[in-house]
Amino acid sequence: MSRAEPAAGRREQPATVETQDHATGPEARPAAGAARPPRWHWTLGLFRSELVTVFRRRRTMALCAVLAGVPLLVGVAVRIETRGGGSVGGGGRGDAGPAFIEQVSNNGLFLTFAGLAATLPFFLPMAVGVVAGDAVAGEAGGGTLRYLLVAPAGRSRLLLAKYASVLVFCLAATLVAAVSALIVGFALFPVGDVTTLSGTSIPLSEGMLRALLIALLVAASLVGIAALGLFVSTVTDSGIGAMATTVGLLITVQIVDNIPQLHAVQPYLFTHYWLSFADILRDPVTWTAIGRNLGLQALYAAVFGSAAWARFTSRDITA
């Protein structure tokens, strides 16, 4: 009954009302039909607030600027390189990996693929590692975590909102790099039908669609490190420490992935199938490696997401 006022009148709600006979006061709350019991969609407010908090940080903007700058740098370099009669790339280079850079001067759309191929190994996951690593640890270090929890955000709910906002950042960061590459590519180079890695030709419109699909796959490739970063973030109260650890793990994994003697563990590294997105540019598209990549990312998300949840819901918040 204490919640029976309309929201505008809530300020007047006197606490003394609570001393009445219903000993089970709080339980009576959801039953108060005329009141404003919490609605399920109100909970989205926390997610929206998380997004605002992530994207209004100057650091996030700086990371996005770097991600937009890499394709620009690549595009300008290729343009300068090929000014005096450019080298014409001879189609696909086989399975050695995407060498889209050679096709950029022929078709500006390839700068999107080249840009993503250039940022995926380090810049993109680093940006995600910074944002994910800071997600919980940064709030703990700043002391804001305790106020969110007594608001009460709820530990599981807060962690979920944080992971969701990190995933949105993964997508946004990838799109920033892709769109920047697209604009630079279209501005500096001729654009036309796309020659696939298999040698066939597809129209530009389909090439654009495949570029979008590739961007989505690249964003999905970051799901694993996002979960890893979030887990690291729940372990420490130092935002910087969590970021450094996450980025350090990324570098370590990248190195291990490139040591042939360690091939036994490589299929389990979250970076191992990252460049599988190039298979989208085959005709027909081969999905095996892409499927493995998505499965591996889901596995990492499940394992480290659960670990983060287990840790965060049981830990003492002393900062």
Partner: protein, 321 residues
């Protein structure tokens, strides 16, 4: 006030609440009872376990042993039902420096699942108004002074009408004017029926605003109860000031006043502990006059909480545990 009260009249109740950090007991089995409607002072030197207790009450850390009930629900299990009705300021304010004061409050309000987003702006404005920050609400929080940050933290605690306010050292970092304002705000909130649980290491702060108090030292709860009872634990002393201390002493002794000491022209002594034996002060005064004792000042001095604390702990107050 000493009579037993029903559970509904207690907003915080702990039983054997304890917290151990790597071998050291920060809180050692305390039984705390905070009556509804009180302004409850939680007193103790720095490091005596006050903040750890508050964190356990707010569900931020799990107790090693014992139970805590807040607003008649177990914590931390019922945190989701309890905490929307509790406003808290814990170990100073924490803000997002890159957000404006207003946006900080919007963020904290969004975190509350019981907060209606449609009335969020009105709530935030009202809270800013209440702590006198409306004019500075557009400024980035990192540009705030410590006092302004403290006010913003208070505003976050006041976003919703609360049944219980937990304020951990709310006047830390404030100038005397700011302290007065906080005390006025606490009294105002208490008058509205909000129970205020106020921790402090400043005795006079507690003495000025609190109706009840508890004293912590080295993780233990030494005492709790109405402030006047705590202070009464160390008896008030009768004091006579005048140019004839020796005569005054003789007259007072005749009335059964014990422990008489003379300090210059001032004589003080303890009234009998048995209330029935306490003589009427007016009689003593008349006797002093009849005996020709010239009196400049006469009266009973109320024992302060500081006296009570020293009496309870047998040590100075500023010792860090």
């Amino acid at each position: 006030m000493a009579q037993p009260t029903a559970a509904a009249d207690v907003v915080i109740e702990t039983r054997g609440l304890a917290k151990q950090y790597r071998g050291t007991l920060a809180v050692d089995g305390i039984d705390l009872r905070v009556p509804r409607g009180s302004v409850f002072g939680f007193l103790g030197p720095n490091g005596s376990g006050k903040t750890t207790t508050i964190r356990m009450l707010m569900g931020l850390i799990a107790p090693t042993a014992g139970t805590a009930r807040v607003l008649d629900r177990p914590m931390p299990r019922a945190a989701r039902a309890v905490l929307p009705r509790v406003g808290a300021l814990i170990e100073g304010p924490a803000l997002y420096g890159f957000l404006s004061g207003r946006d900080n409050l919007v963020r904290y309000d969004s975190a509350d699942p019981t907060a209606d987003p449609r009335t969020r702006a009105a709530r935030v404005d009202a809270a800013l108004d209440r702590v006198g920050l409306a004019a500075a609400s557009g400024k980035k929080a990192k540009a705030y002074s410590l006092g302004m940050k403290q006010r913003l933290g208070l505003a976050a605690a006041l976003l919703q009408p609360r049944e219980l306010l937990v304020l951990d050292e709310p006047t830390n970092g404030l100038d005397p004017q700011g302290m007065r304002e906080i005390r006025a705000l606490v009294r105002e909130l208490a008058a509205d029926g909000t129970t205020v649980f106020l921790s402090s290491h400043l005795l006079d702060e507690i003495e000025q605003v609190c109706t009840h108090a508890a004293v912590m030292a080295r993780g233990r709860l030494i005492t709790q109860g109405p402030v006047e009872e705590l202070a009464a634990g160390t008896h008030g002393r009768l004091a006579v000031t005048g140019p004839d201390p020796a005569e005054a002493r003789r007259v007072l002794a005749g009335f059964g006043v014990t422990g008489l000491t003379a300090d210059g022209d001032r004589v003080t002594g303890d009234l009998p502990a048995d209330p029935a034996a306490v003589p009427d002060l007016a009689e003593i005064n008349a006797a002093l006059v009849a005996a020709g004792v010239r009196v400049r000042g006469f009266g009973r001095e109320r024992a302060s909480l500081e006296d009570a604390f020293v009496a309870l702990t047998g040590e100075g107050f500023d010792v860090a545990g």
